[in-house]
């Protein structure tokens, strides 16, 4: 691949950069004048601070960044960023973002959504954005509950979860957002915890650089309606034994040094963690997010369980494939080039006349 090819496949290709001599941007440049109105202790504050700190890294002008959101607590996000933004309607942000990204290659387009917004009412749009591979970065805040409507179970709530609308426990099987995204042909799928800032920054960076739809699931705590949903993997004493940090090219490992387990493929094909000192190195599962075949990434996503015994985080999949918006624009540009440039008045006149005219004197 040439450097030019590589640059064309960068997530921000086509978006103008800040002038070299422009003053260095800070978090403050991306903070709007609006008062943030989430509940005290909400995980969204942490994510907002991380994103505001991360955006200057991109080296873009603020006017070339647009955040589009749907409805829900997380969807208030755009109001707090000093970029272009649209707080749209429930579940539909990916459609609006698709229209914007396709018609404006000079915009870095972000979608902020939640588990209800993205996976319930907007499930159809989410999967279609991913299969098309529109150049978008989707931040899916998953708190496993409906917060803004005051505490009903969501499509990621656990079976049996007691909420206002499930007093005897939810009977719905939840979605695993990573599995869903991989099944929907997503070219980039990552998962981070709101409290793990270094990992979040690294994943956001990779997502922004990815050309195509990047879905980043962010585990986010709702202190009011689902407090402690991720406690098992946030708690320092338990985290190490449960959190599986995926690293490209490395065997998949979990646990403290003295209790390290490694993921192996059993003769039957299943994935299983076994103590590292007992494992056959030839059976190690080596993480390859760049593999064309998503099966292993999918298998990793299935390590998850409601008990959170082993929760993989990091980048599951990161592959290159043509993006929807690039191809749509290329067809229009190709048709115009083939016809000798943008349509003139004469071209329009010829179109209006069509092929079968007659003249009345």
């Amino acid at each position: 691949m040439t450097i030019t090819d590589h640059l064309a496949r960068h997530g921000l290709a086509g978006v103008p950069l800040l002038e070299a001599d422009a003053p260095k941007q800070t978090k403050k440049d991306f903070t709007s004048d609006q008062e943030v109105r989430w509940c005290p202790g909400c995980g969204d504050y942490v994510i907002l601070a991380a994103v505001q700190s991360f955006l200057p890294e991109l080296g873009l002008k603020r006017e070339n960044i647009t955040f589009v959101s749907g409805i829900g607590c997380s969807s208030r996000f755009p109001y707090y960023l000093n970029t272009f933004g649209m707080h749209s309607i429930h579940g539909r942000a990916p459609t609006i973002a698709t229209g914007l990204a396709t018609s404006r290659p000079d915009q870095s387009v972000w979608v902020v959504t939640g588990d209800g917004d993205a996976l319930s009412i907007g499930g159809n749009h989410l999967i279609h954005a991913m299969r098309r591979n529109v150049n978008l970065t989707i931040l899916l805040f998953n708190n496993q509950i409906y917060g803004l409507t005051k505490g009903q179970y969501s499509p990621t709530s656990k079976v049996g979860q007691v909420t206002k609308s499930s007093p005897m426990g939810a009977v719905d099987q939840p979605f695993n957002p990573v599995s869903l995204a991989l099944g929907a042909e997503a070219s980039f799928v990552g998962r981070v915890m709101e409290s793990d800032r270094p990992s979040m920054m690294a994943t956001l960076r990779a997502a922004a650089e990815h050309r195509g739809t990047a879905l980043v699931e962010i585990y986010q705590n709702c202190p009011i309606f689902n407090d402690g949903a991720f406690e098992k993997i946030k708690d320092r004493s338990e985290q190490e034994a449960r959190l599986v940090r995926l690293e490209a090219g490395q065997p998949v490992r979990v646990g403290a040094e003295d209790a390290r387990r490694v993921l192996v493929r059993t003769p039957g094909g299943a994935l299983e963690f076994v103590p590292e000192d007992q494992a056959d190195p030839t059976a190690y599962v080596v993480h390859d997010p760049y593999a064309e075949d998503p099966s292993q990434a999918f298998a990793l996503s299935r390590l998850d369980s409601p008990e959170m015994t082993s929760v993989p985080v990091g980048i599951f999949r990161q592959v290159e494939r043509p993006t929807y918006d690039d191809q749509v624009r290329a067809q229009v540009a190709g048709a115009q080039d083939a016809a000798g440039g943008p349509a003139t008045d004469a071209d329009l006149a010829a179109l209006l006349r069509g092929k079968d005219t007659w003249t009345v004197a």
Binding site: Y79, H90, T95, I96, A339
Partner: protein
């Protein structure tokens, strides 16, 4: 070329009818094109089932195409056919009741088998049992003559039979002295890659023509002289194509790229097809995963400074309603094309109706005004689309363009406009901050309105210094920040309404030549033709009748109340149960009289003339 006589006629209505797989729409289209080239004025009415290949030989499977052409101004596709081409017994049975006594029937005898007759409930063959004695019946073995004519071709019998529609077209072309060269050229394009099929179709066409000339069954042929029409270049055009071209022309004249987000739905899909082929004109089309995504993509493009358009029919509008509400709140330009069809629910997908008016007007939560424009004829879809774009961009508002199934598929000659004569629709984007904050620093206020139009600035991403956030939550006047203040919501609701109420629309023109009329017939949308034709018929009988037509349904023209009040009786014919009448009564307190029908077909001239005639009688 022929020894037979040629008789002159001033007008003819022909209906081609057959199985939905018989190629009747194509046959009709070709005859129309040849007729248009002859300089006749014309109007067409395709009528087909929703199923692509409904069960063969059955009544629900009948597809027809009616064409009215004349040596004078044609307003409707014609009430009753003078000639019916019936390709099978089902086509005869389904259409016979529309045929006046004395009409001509050309029947394909090959298909009048005992089995085919029984399938549609004929106990005996109507071509032989005398039941059609008050018609001129030409029993023609269309299928077998086509197959015979193609004996030399290396094609299957089935392939040969398929050319029978060209035989029928050739025969009708002879009957009405139409040239066939344009159809031959058309076939050459269509079957260019299949020379054998092409040659067979051309041969069948010629065979049909020659059959008319030689057989004694047809004593004479007919000529219809060209209609006097304003000078210029003409083409024949359907409503869906005219609407597509109107959008492209509007984008061209506004300097905006056209971005269509659409989901396939009958009878609107042809707009998607047409625009998908116009990438050369800078048109981007996105076929969305559903109706909601279609309008979402269009709105996202509008936010980005493009001309966002979505196209659909009634059920799709229902799905798009929430996004239309968002567009009302965001105050961004957006064109929503609703090609109305029979409802409710799936209703009659291929038949026409005007029953989405109230849905367009009120089908959203909250106070959510949206301008509405309705084209009046197929070719008028062009100008109506341009007008919709004018309003959407000038006032930053979603606009409904209410076409219908009849306009969409019907066609007529169109005087092609000069590009230079098209309206200038150029828009201005916001380029700089438009206010100052408390500290006196420049800020952008996304809801600071133009004092004339009440439109807010169109500030597109990429413009430095104009970064702002907008959304569906109520916004504070001027700043656009979230506001739950009661007085602000009341103000913003009234401002959005005032903006739509204040849109400039031309006065409604009344056609009342004598000035003596006491009865006014008010149409909207595709009732234009039948209303005008009925009024013309009554005037010929010496009656004074006034006529007016509404293009703008929201806001109404400023003089409408005065016009309604200046007649003793106002009749409003609609293909719904009285939706415009309801609006007129509510707004103007005028006792307008509804005449309604929802038969999936346009009104006939006769029907409307009777209704208006009865009113004239009552008042006399």
């Amino acid at each position: 070329m022929t020894n037979k006589t040629i008789e002159s006629l001033d007008r003819v209505v022909i209906r081609f009818a057959g199985d939905s797989g018989d190629g009747m729409q194509l046959t009709g289209d070709r005859f129309t094109s040849d007729t248009a080239t002859m300089g006749n004025d014309l109007s067409t009415l395709p009528n087909f089932p929703a199923e692509i290949r409904a069960p063969q030989g059955t009544l629900p499977g009948v597809s027809s195409f009616q064409l009215h052409f004349a040596d004078h101004d044609v307003l409707t596709p014609g009430d009753a056919p003078d000639v019916l081409v019936a390709m099978n017994p089902a086509a005869l049975r389904a259409n016979l009741r529309d045929l006046p006594r004395g009409a001509t029937i050309i029947a394909n005898t090959d298909e009048f088998t005992t089995r085919a007759l029984a399938k549609v409930g004929y106990a005996s063959n109507p071509l032989e049992d005398g039941s059609l004695e008050s018609y001129h019946v030409h029993a023609v073995a269309l299928t077998s003559m086509t197959v015979d004519a193609l004996a030399e071709f290396d094609l299957t019998r089935k392939e040969k039979e398929r050319a029978k529609n060209m035989f029928a077209l050739g025969l009708l072309s002879w009957m009405y002295t139409r040239p066939t060269d344009a159809t031959e050229a058309f076939l050459a394009t269509k079957f260019g890659s299949k020379p054998e099929i092409l040659a067979a179709n051309v041969k069948a066409l010629a065979a049909g023509f020659n059959y008319g000339e030689t057989t004694e069954d047809f004593a004479s042929s007919y000529a219809v002289a060209p209609a006097p029409m304003p000078a210029g270049t003409y083409r024949n055009i359907t409503g869906n194509v005219a609407l597509s071209l109107g959008l492209v022309a509007a984008a061209h004249r506004s300097g905006l790229p056209l971005v269509l987000g659409s989901y396939p739905i009958t009878p609107a899909s042809d707009i998607l097809h047409t625009l998908a082929g116009l990438k050369r004109h800078g048109v981007t089309t996105m076929q969305a995963e559903d109706e909601i995504a279609g309008i979402g993509m269009a709105l996202g493009a509008s936010f980005g400074g493009a001309l966002g358009v979505t196209t659909t029919s009634g059920p799709g509008v229902a799905l798009k309603s929430e996004t239309i509400g968002l567009a009302v709140s965001l105050e961004l330009p957006l064109v929503i094309v609703d090609v109305q069809r029979g409802g409710p629910s799936t209703g009659l997908p291929t038949k026409t109706e005007q029953a989405d008016l109230l849905q367009a007007m009120f089908g959203r939560n909250g106070e959510s005004p949206v301008p509405i424009i309705a084209p009046q004829t197929p070719s008028d879809c062009f100008a109506a689309a341009m007008d919709a774009v004018r309003i959407a961009t000038a006032y930053r508002t979603p606009v409904f363009l209410l076409s219908d199934g009849y306009l969409a598929n019907g066609s007529e000659p169109w005087l092609v406009p000069e590009v230079a004569d098209l309206p200038d629709l150029s828009v201005e984007f916001a380029t700089a901050p438009n206010g100052v904050d408390d500290a006196g620093a420049p800020v952008f206020q996304p809801y600071l309105r133009d004092p004339e139009t009440l439109a807010r600035p169109w500030a597109v991403p990429g413009t430095a210094g104009l970064e702002h956030r907008i959304g569906g939550i109520e916004k504070a006047d001027v700043t656009g920040n979230i506001s739950y203040d009661p007085d602000n919501h009341d103000l913003m609701t009234r401002l959005r309404q005032a903006k739509v109420d204040g849109i400039t629309v031309p006065d409604v023109e009344v056609d009342d030549p004598s000035g003596d009329a006491r009865v006014l017939v008010l149409g909207w949308g595709s009732t234009y033709g039948p209303v005008f034709a009925a009024v013309r018929a009554l005037r010929r009988q010496g009656h004074a009748v006034a006529r007016a037509h509404l293009r703008h349904l929201n806001p109404f023209p400023g003089n409408l109340g005065e016009v309604l009040r200046s007649y003793d009786r106002v009749i409003v014919p609609e293909m719904n149960l009285g939706q415009l009448a309801l609006l007129l009564r509510a707004k103007y307190l005028v006792d307008v009289r509804s005449h309604t029908a929802v038969r999936g077909l346009p009104f006939t001239t006769t029907e409307l003339a009777e209704v208006v005639g009865a009113a004239l009688e009552e008042l006399s």
